[in-house]
Each structure stands twice: as C-alpha cells, then as structure tokens.
Amino acid sequence: MDNCYHCGDTCRATTIIHDEKKFCCNGCKTVYDILNENELTYYYDLQATPGKTPIAIEGRFDFLDNQDIVAKLLEFDEQDIQIVSFVIPHIHCSSCIWVLENLNKLHPAFLNTQVDFPKKTVRITYNATQFSLKEVVLLLCKIGYEPTISLEDFNKKEKKVDRSLIYKLGVAGFAFGNIMFLSFPEYFEVSEFWLDKFKFVFRWLMFAFAVPVVLYSARDYFVSAYRGLHAKVLNIDVPIALGISVLFLRSTAEIVMDWGTGFFDSLAGLVFFLLLGKFFQQKTYGFLSFERDYKSYFPIAVTQLIKPESAPISEENSSDVKEIQTQVYELKPGDRILIRNNELIPADGVLIKGAGCIDYSFVTGEAVPVNKLSGESIFAGGRQQGGIIEIEITKAVAQSYLTQLWNNDIFRKNKASRFENMTDQISRRFTIAILAIAIIATAIWLFYDISTALQVFTAVLIVACPCAIALAAPFTLGNMLRIFGRRKLYLKESFVIEQMAQIDTVVFDKTGTLTSNQKNKITYHGVPLSKNEQTVLTSTLRASNHPLSRALYDVLQDNGICTLDDFSEEAGNGLTGVSGATRVRTGSATFVGNEQLQVASNRTQVHVSANNQYKGAYSFQNTYREGITDLFADLGNTVHLVILSGDNDGEKEILKAQLPPSAQLKFNQKPNDKLNFIKELQRQGRKVMMIGDGLNDAGALAQSDVGIAVSEDVNVFSPASDGIIDASQLQELAQFLKGSHQSVRVIKFAFIFSLFYNLIGLGFAVTGNLAPVVAAILMPLSSISIVVFTTVCTYLIGRNLKTKIELK
C-alpha cells in the first residue's frame, strides 16, 4: 500500500498518480496542485506528508456573506486593512506555520499572516476590497486548513489577557536582585569608613525598592488573607501576609531608628519565590479550553428560508423561497431553517421537509442516529446525517432543551472555592502554633529583657513565614501538571491533582467515552451472500448518505463496485439497488420483508434481502476502547465504579462482563439525571470523578469533584471540565490516579521538611539571635531546597509513570 504524498493516509481503492507522486484522493491532489503552482512546495520538504484532505464545503461558510457577522468576527476593520484571527485545529507542524505565513503567495490580498502555534491560531491581515472574508476562509479550506468558527467567536473582540502576575514577578525579581547587591556590604559587617558613611544611602535605597514589592507584588497575599479572615478561615496567606508586613515594618523601624539594616533582602526574596511558585503552578494549554459550553459547539449562523410575500426573488431554482444566512441568536420561533448534511441543529424545532436522521450521540449519548419524519419534533444539538431537511423553530436558541442545562446553578459555582487544599489545611494549625510560640516567647522575654521582647516577637513571625510550605504544593503540583500533560492528560489547574488523590468513585459515561466514536464492529448473521450480491450491496450502500450505510460501506468496500441500473432510497426505511438480474434491498427488517424480526433486540441492525429473499442482517456493535477491561480491573480494587449512560441498556451484558461485580450500571440517563446521580453520590460522602465526553455529561462533569472530558481529538470541542484526556490514554487512568496519590505524599514530606527549617529558624528567633544575614540565608535556602526536593521527587514519579505506561 502506498501512502498519500499530501496527507500520509494509505491509498485505498484509488491511487492517483500525478506529477510522479501518489495521492489518495482528488482533494489531496488539488491541494498539491495549488501549492505547486504557487511555488509553495517547500511545504512538503519541511515535513513529510503534512497535509490534510480538504473536506467538502458546500455552502457551509455562506454566512460570511452576511456583513453583520463578518463585522463581529473582524478584530480590526478599516478601509483597506482587515484583521481576523481563526482557530485552525489542523496546525500541527512547522510546515503548517510556513505555508500559513506564506499565504500572500497564493493571493496578493494577504498582507500579513502570523501563526500562534501553541494556540493553533492564525492572525490574518488582509485587504477586504480585493478579497472578502468568505474568500479568505474558502482559500484556507481549499488547502486543507479549515478554520473553526463557532458561536463562541461571536463578539470575541478585546479578549483581555491577564499578565499582572508576570509584572508582579518582574517587580519582585528586580527589587530582589537590587536589594541583594545593596545589602552585600553589610552582610560582612565590616566597619569601614566609607561603608559607614554610605550605609544610609544604601538602606534607604533598599527601602525604596522594597516599597513596590510590598504594595504591588505582594498585594494578592494581603487581599487573600483579608478574605480568608473575613470568611473565618486561616488560609496559608494569613501567616504569609503577617510575615511580609512584620518584615517590612520592622525593617523600616530599624533603618529609621538606625538599629540595623533590616530584612529587605529577605522580604523581596520571599515575595519573589512565592510568586515564582504561583507562576510555575499555572500551566496553560493554549490550544485547549476548559470553559466551553454549547456556544463553542454551535454554528454561528444557519440558512434561514424566507418566503417572499412582497418581493419575489428567484434565487433557488424554480422555488420562490429565499435563502438567507441568519445569526443563530436572531432565530425566532416560527422561522424556517435549512439544515444540510452534517450540520448542527441550533434550536428545538419541528421537522417540516426531508428525512431526518439525527445523530444525538454527543447530546444524549445515544449511539445510533435517530430517524425523524416530518412533523416530529427535533431537539437542538443533534447533527443531521444524510440529506437536506427543513425545520421550523419552536424555541429560541437560549431556551432549547439542551441549552437549559446550563441554567443549572452548578455552572456558576467555582470549584476551587468548594475545596480546601492541603496547604490551607496545614496552615490552620501552623498559624495558631506560630502565634502561640510568638506570644509565649515574648512573654518569657518580657521578664528578662523588655527591649529584646519586641525583637523576638517580630523575629518569630518573620522566620516562621511559611515560605517553604507555600512553595511545596505549587512546585509539586505544577510539575505533575506538566508530567500529566506530556502523557496527554491536560488538567485545568493544579489543585485538580489534589482532588484526584481523594477520589473513591469513578463514574463513566458510555457512548464516546468507553466506546470509540469511529470504529463500529459489524458482524453478519444469516445466509452468506454470493459474490455478485455483495458487489451490488456495496454499490447500493455507496450511493447512500445514511451513516449506517456509510459505516457498512467502509467495511465492505473491498468487494468492488458495479454500475447500478436502478437505485432508490426510502427515508427511514432502506435502500434498493438493481444491477442486472440482482435486486438487493437493505434496511430495516420490515423494509426487506421480514416482519418477524421486527421485535429484535436493542441492537442496531441492517437487514439484507436479495431478489425478495431474506438473507440476513449486519449487526452493529459498539467497540470499546482498547484496554478498558484492564482499566476496570486496575481501578476496581481501589475505587467504586459506575457506568452512567444516556443510551439504552442494549449493551448491559457486554459491559457487565468487563466490569468487576461491585460496579453499578445505569442506563437511559438524561443529562439532569446524571447531574443528580453525582450529587446523590456526593451526599453519601463520596468523592466522585466523572469521565464523560458529550454535552449530556456537562452537568455531571461540573457537579463532580473532578470532571474529565475524553476527547479523540483534543482540539475539537469537549465540554467544560477540570481536565481533558486524550482518548488513547484513558486506559492509563489508574496510573494517573496513582501518580496524584504519590504527589500528595511528596507534598506531605515537603511539609515536614520545611517545618524542620522553621524549627531551626525559630531556634534563632526565640533566643533573640536572628541577624539579617541568618534570615537572608535561611529563607532562600529553605525555599530552594524545597523546590529541589519536590522537583526530584516528581521527576521520579514521572519516570515511573512513563515506564509503567510504556511497558504495557
């Protein structure tokens, strides 16, 4: 088998040899031609087979004719210069960057294009007087870089990027470095003439550098501590804020009164390290979004049909109906819309014309497309498979059955605020202990030496500032976040790892999560078909757009095809194909003339008859992802397993056989049932992890303690969640859970480690011997050793995880 020069797929039935190169289809060949004509073949030198087969567009971007929509998409629009940004999921290699940044070779109207690889976006500056936005998009599609334009892109202008943490870190780092230099002479405590003379300048300069650190860089800690106290919680920021303010006040007092140099160096260092931890903890996956709701799944516009009452327009052949592109938000009940093959239904409605075959797998979890006849109602979120249908809208987009799920309160709650992390747990006791030590030590000193008492009090608070404790979790979790990311489990925030370690119940969705979307296992039962019959059947299936026909055709296509003399498709029933003397009917049991089989199981079947003689049926079975049984076995020992499916219970026995006996199975669950089921589990005190893929799981994902979305292609839509796992890695879930347990253990060790440092520091402090140089050494030393400790430990965990996964 040869591989396509453009896309790298194996060339199946047809291989096109063009220009001494092999192509799998005409689409790939066309892209090559376009690039070749414009001298862009360097594309293929940078990376072998970088391309993607362009897919049929057929009017999908017609909405870009609507100037209102275009105006909303443009970032900048002035006379000859227009700027627009697109997300292009296919961006994956250096060839992609190169070709997209050389678009102006394809058309001079492109003024500038810039790719942001991590975000998979391209920012295009073009001249709209020469080239419209629609033409831009069509050109991108033509070379296989189809942009994703969804309802979410609407009004996306002015996306605010929060860079304040970098500024704060910059200020703290800048001040830290400079203060260190300035305090160097005094570290050695040599009394030299000129040192004594300039001491004051140095000290006041240090003060000047420390002011922005306290007021700007450390502001978040004061705010957070205040909020914590307000809510009567002693979070880790309380002792930190206390430590910072005591450091600053005492140091200022020292230089004002000329008692000493103060601890400005430690202060700036402390804030710098803390912010560094915070910065490290943030790991953003530019190309992923964890906040998606139905908006990023819905199209921006649909084709609306308008019956002209006044102005007759003859756009459609022989029809007096006008097609216009309407923004989805503007659809009103009573409007008629046109849905083409593979388009999404944006609002609830009633089918008026055409044969609906609607794939709800993403919305409800039903694995098999549902046939709808005119007059039946259709819910938003389904995807039409097959021919063109007309729908009359009954509810506006925001009120549809699907979008109402987002009205649930759970989508407005912030998960992080519902969770008390380990650091805060320990800080509760820590803060009380520190205050107690400070007060006792001061009380004792009051009897001996009143002037030392105040010094001891402040020294205890300074040295006990839990810098190392505050760093342990960010660095461990930040590292784990990256390790998991490399293994294709992308978590939204680091605290999710802590929550993962507490999970005792794992709930799985079925369709799309445990089963794979692409591969269907098809088995044939009945009288074997003759070679001739098979060929006719294959050719008949080939002519149909029905998803089952296409799935079956994929399996049978090696049978070869012949020319059909007659072909007919009866919507919702089946197909008839005639070639010579062979007449093949395929479809539902009644259609092929086998009434008895009508009450068959829940299985999806396609029946076949040849020359009015019933032959047999092809049964479709969900294929489960690889390694699911192993995963269940691994998880079964440690956690309680639940299967929560929106589909019928046709697969119950198959699933049961793979699951440990204690597992629970629930079928026919509506989105809200799923959410409530998770809530009920939590009421029983369970920590629940939900694994799902579709919009129907969105509520359950939000309600659960950890919601992980499974995605076969992480760039395309996945519902809002705490993490996204690549479908190929789902079988490693047990390893990920284990990794999170281990990282929590690392944090605990790091806590012990840093408490040890604190004890040493306290030893200096309570005896009244805390010199600035001791604090300046102890503070960074403890911080750095904690960082080193956690980094080494997480590296070992990561290596362990890697070998475990690769051994399989």
Binding site: E39, T41, Y44, A48, S94, D116, K119, R163, V171, L205
Partner: protein
C-alpha cells in the same frame, strides 16, 4: 568618594530602563507565544525563483528524492 552617588544613580537608572523594557515587551505580547518564533527563524529565506518551467521541474525532482 561621593562619586558613588553618581554611580549608584546611574546603575539604578540603567536597571530601571531595563525593567521598563521588560514590562513594555510583556505588555506588547512578546512573551505570549514563545514557541512559534523558534520555528519561524529556521525557515529558509524565500526560495523565490524566476517562474520558468524547467526550473519548476527541477524543483519537483528534488522533492521526490527528499521524500524518500
């Protein structure tokens, strides 16, 4: 020794200039995408050749071999 006042002033000013440059570059989004520029700089400078037919076919030959 009072030269040290000048020196300190100068050094602090230089440091502040760099700091402002840093803030400015962050603000302009120079650190938003740290990956793409690293790839972009490795691209060959434009291989623009005069549009001649034989040149074109030469080009194809090279591609053929490099892909194998």
């Amino acid at each position: 020794m009072s030269i040290i006042y000048v020196l300190i002033t100068v050094s602090v000013i230089v440091a502040i200039v760099f700091f402002i440059a840093f803030v400015y570059s962050v603000k302009k989004g120079q650190y938003d995408d740290t990956y793409t520029p690293s790839v972009r700089m490795l691209f060959e400078d434009e291989l623009v050749k005069p549009k001649k037919e034989h040149e074109k076919s030469d080009n194809k030959e090279i591609i053929q071999t490099s892909n194998q």
